[in-house]
Symmetry: C3
Subunit: 476 residues, 3 copies
């Protein structure tokens, strides 16, 4: 019954999407044959600026996240495949929602690869929050939050500096996910679950996912920054931040474990903390050394969070955070936000030259301000901004921080309440972290040979029968 | 003996290739140092347009296909490694054959990265058809079809619109592969085979392959389209088509399975149907919504094919299609061809502007036609075409469809007959889907420990002996 | 204690790096906002030329190498994760060391993505040499050689033609690694080690690593060549060389194995020989056929090395070369060097035109030479060179070969002596190739049952009862 729901829901969503696409979605200037003519240069089409970053982020979302989430012993299919399902729908939906807010004119949403990149950022929000409830939700339940994060659009409109999405993506996703998991609290899971562990193979696959995220993270952090030196800096800082957090993660993992050994969960998650921590200031002139320090700080906060905060949250605050998103995205996002505010306050024409008003576009003079004309002599294409001072911009960042956390947490709680509706086929505690519930799982070789043994030997060997039986139970 | 044949065949092929390369292959304008001089701009070298797509398609062919084909329980090495071997030789050979037809002048084949992309398309034909006989052929047999698809060149000369290769690649490969498997029919396999299943790990690896194909498919479909907006649309449509077929695959997989659970085989294959279905019209102004609908239609046809048509073909028509290429490439290819014909018939200057005669280059006026001069005022570089009308072009597509199917099927049958020659070391039915025949397979840990068990316990436990024995047989 | 050392060492290194970065590292022209102004074009920022190659090489280093080195039965974590750790630190350190030698002016190291590419080449040296002692070293020991290869800088200054790094990277790394393993000789390992083997899964993962290296190797070989046709040729030759060595590896693997079957170790390593062998002449006009022949030759040498030379070196010369780097990087590097010398001697203006003095930049006339003015009329931007003749350049290559081998071998021996210091937590022979020593390894499903066997079977257990029990626990 549960899967029949999935089929019906998916069909209904597809019909909805196709109707909305046919009514509202058309090509943008860069994809419309009619508007690309002898005055446009094919090789100057924006697709060549956007597609490489789009492809890299696709790898992160479908392969990086997919492998990373496949770490559970018997929930590898779920981790990898539900990530695939959720991401696919989230992008489809985000194209519509973001389209209405950012790419809508002449009564239509105008589509190009740049929309897909924006949609992937929205999708990242969904997938990160998904980490809080991994293994405890049905695929039907996973599709609902896609709508929940629609409110993300609200926060996006605060006009803040956040190139790598530390506030808009990571913090939003984190508190949204915590809101959901707060409502879906399962007391019995605090006692541990027999299928919650990993295997040698699942740990390796998960590290592979980490490495894909690690390698392509610079593309994620720079995809929506200004072309040129801003994008160049974003790549450098992301690499340096990740690099610093990776070393720190190794050091802390060994130091904080009981027996001095490294833990694979740390390698899989904590190494990535630097990518989030540099996010809010990733395109600014923060200097390589500060990017390095941010990586170290973010990683330390993340690691201490895993070690001390997560168990506390789970037991005392009903916040069972399956993948520890509060550590990897919440704490690091907070540090990143603060670092971003400092970088904004310190930014001056001395360091940036007139391009200060490009990197911090809201600080550019408003339309009509004579100063704008002066600046446009220095930078021909400079667009009018909002005339904010550094302090005003810093204030907006603080406001964005507060509203992101509160809006996302409330949204998460509301989404969680919807997910509690009885129709949504939530797995029982026993079937958490278990692919059997949603997939036809193949018998593994050893199991298969075991299950065949009786055939040839049951005449003589009666004590094999129970194996047969246990296999039986296993499959229902 | 079988492998000695492989060695001899490969050496012979290498000598052949190296002789032909040394006599016929030279650099093209873009790779020849002598022709790149102070009148050429290094950064305008075509390598920068072609290499990113080439690299993406390399990932699809060697990693995507390789992992996807590693789904059998005990044929992971075969799937991944024979794919590696076949692809490598297919590209080498295609460089020569396509070179003679497309890049031959002044008595030489002129080589650049663009030839490699073309050769990879030919290679895709081989690998897709390989799917029909996966696990039932020796590596020697796999190298033969590389020559068989040489006739592909014939079809390529029909001058049709088929940017994503739905007709030229997918349909050709499908019917070629079916022709081969028709001849290599093994009645006993219809009863099922003990090694035909998957394992948890092999299913995960195969999904990973699917994800690589999924992520980079836009690069495949756009690599040979016109630069600029055509390429931009090809990327958009491929993404949307895949996205729609993925959702549909999840819905149908749950709906059509006996117990309402998802099947990994569906996730691995059917999700990709949209990439093929948008192929023939991928660079045209079909609108995002139509790309979405094509993805849904292709996926539905593919899924129903797996469920109902494949068993029928295997039992009644001797068409044992191991990977279901008729569903993923044949049925979807047919839909794509029809969609392409509709798009051609509907294409007008109103929608495309004068670039109609670029996207549909065969409709451009012929050399000497005064209309050509008019158009060249609008689009300076426009090349003369064949002066076809929309209806004529549509007719050519139909002819291409018919001739592709018939030529490829006949070619497949003939290739199949060659493969039946006794020297080619075809595996016996028993050793189908079994790496043991061609590889030194490591003892797995559990097997290793099992095989050691008897040492310590054979004195007391007699009923372990059959396990020992089965391990024994298994390893020879 | 060992891991506490790791933590302390890593923290110390991080503090050192962050201090040096903050004092010495700043942005280069392309990343500094102040220097990017209305006279610079954002889209002409070098980041767009460099980042795609950087990303490809990142995939090779972190994913390709990581998976490739995960081939041991019980050292998958070690292979993949220590590669991650070592590569991360090596790049951080190389940014500093190379920065001082190549990017230092105005009292600062100037940083852009181009530095990261250079640092990755240095990192490759470390990782290749790491292959000689894989599984026999602690993570603390692995961080030391990063400093050892600092001397690499010396060789880099010989001003030779070596685009793909056959001499500077592969030969240096090989003899450095051999120097280290010579000192770390463990006689008992010559008798074989119970954990030295592979499993079905580890072999598959390792092949996946090979495929990533194979696919992106052209990016590695061309990243530091001249833009334009030189880079185009480097891509072509690398692809052709790899392609030839892959076919040869299959042929030889079957031919040289006892039972005519393919060995996965050959597929994982020997297929890559061509990438190294074309390295030294990869950007020259050697012709596609010669690239093919180089691939075949390199592969043959590599394969024979694995078969006959490695066992000899291990038993007679104390050179236990765990991954056979002497075959894959040493022998192939030698052939590549010789091929490079031949290509240098044969290079003429007839073949290259005036761009001869770009590809072979040291042959360009010196500053002040009137010939330089002549050439600059043909190639406006041509830089003054060292006025070497072809023969002189060839001689320099020979000198570089000799000094690379001797400097690296001595450096390796010295590094090996440092690694013997008792504080560095070298694993005992018994714990070689064993993740247990450094990681919290999850109990595998089957092990979970095995490890419980003794508990219940000790008491006396007739036959299979313990399996029952463990299955039971497992399934509930």
């Amino acid at each position: 019954v549960g899967e029949c729901q999935l089929s019906m829901l998916v069909f209904a969503l597809e019909v909805l999407v196709v109707v909305l696409y046919s009514v509202f979605v058309t090509y943008d200037d860069q994809t419309n044959a009619l508007l690309q003519n002898n005055k446009t240069q094919p090789l100057e089409n924006t697709v060549y600026q956007d597609y490489p970053f789009f492809a890299d982020i696709q790898v992160m979302i479908f392969i990086g996240f997919g492998c990373l989430l496949a770490f559970f012993r018997r929930y590898g299919f779920g981790g990898m495949v539900f990530n695939f399902l959720t991401a696919t729908f989230a992008i489809q939906w985000a194209i519509l929602v973001q389209g209405f807010f950012h790419f809508y004119y002449d009564g239509q949403i105008h589509l190009g690869v740049i929309n897909l990149i924006n949609a992937e950022f929205a999708c990242a929000v969904v997938l990160i929050s998904f980490g809080a409830v991994l293994g405890k939700t049905s695929p039907v339940q996973l599709l609902v939050p896609v709508f929940g994060v629609t409110e993300w659009i609200v926060v996006e409109h605060l006009k803040i500096n956040d190139a790598g999405g530390s506030i808009l993506i990571h913090l939003f996703a984190c508190y949204f996910g915590l809101g959901v998991t707060f409502i879906l609290y399962r007391p019995s899971l605090n006692e541990g679950h027999s299928k919650e562990g990993t295997t040698y193979q699942s740990d390796l696959l998960s590290v592979l996912g980490t490495l894909f995220l690690w390698v392509f993270w610079p593309s994620f952090n720079c995809a929506l920054t200004l072309r040129g030196d801003d994008q160049h800096r974003a790549i450098l800082h992301t690499f340096i931040g990740l690099s610093a957090s990776t070393l720190t993660a190794f050091a802390l993992s060994a130091l904080l474990s009981k027996n001095g050994k490294l833990s694979m969960a740390d390698v899989q998650n904590v190494t990535l903390a630097g990518g989030v921590t540099v996010g809010a200031s990733v395109d600014m002139m923060i200097s390589p050394a500060v990017a390095y320090v941010l990586g170290m700080l973010g990683c330390t906060a993340c690691m201490l969070g895993y070690k001390y905060l997560s168990p506390f949250l789970a037991r005392r605050l009903r916040l069972q955070d399956q993948c520890g998103i509060h550590n990897l995205h919440g704490l690091t996002g907070l540090i990143s936000t603060i670092a971003g505010i400092c970088a904004i306050l310190l930014a001056s024409e001395e360091t940036y030259g007139p391009s200060l008003y490009q990197t911090f576009s809201y600080r550019a003079p408003q339309q009509g301000d004579p100063q704008l004309g002066e600046l446009q002599k220095l930078i021909p294409g400079l667009e009018a901004g909002l005339g904010r001072t550094a302090k005003e911009q810093a204030l907006y960042q603080v406001v964005a921080l507060g509203s992101t956390i509160s809006i996302s947490a409330v949204g998460g709680v509301l989404t969680g309440l919807v997910l509690k509706l009885p129709y949504l086929a939530s797995p029982t505690d026993e079937f958490c972290f278990d692919d059997e519930l949603f997939f036809n799982v193949p018998l593994d070789e050893d199991q298969a040979s075991e299950s065949q043994e009786p055939r040839c030997s049951e005449t003589q060997i009666t004590n094999h029968q129970y194996i047969l039986q246990s296999n039986f139970e296993y499959h229902f």
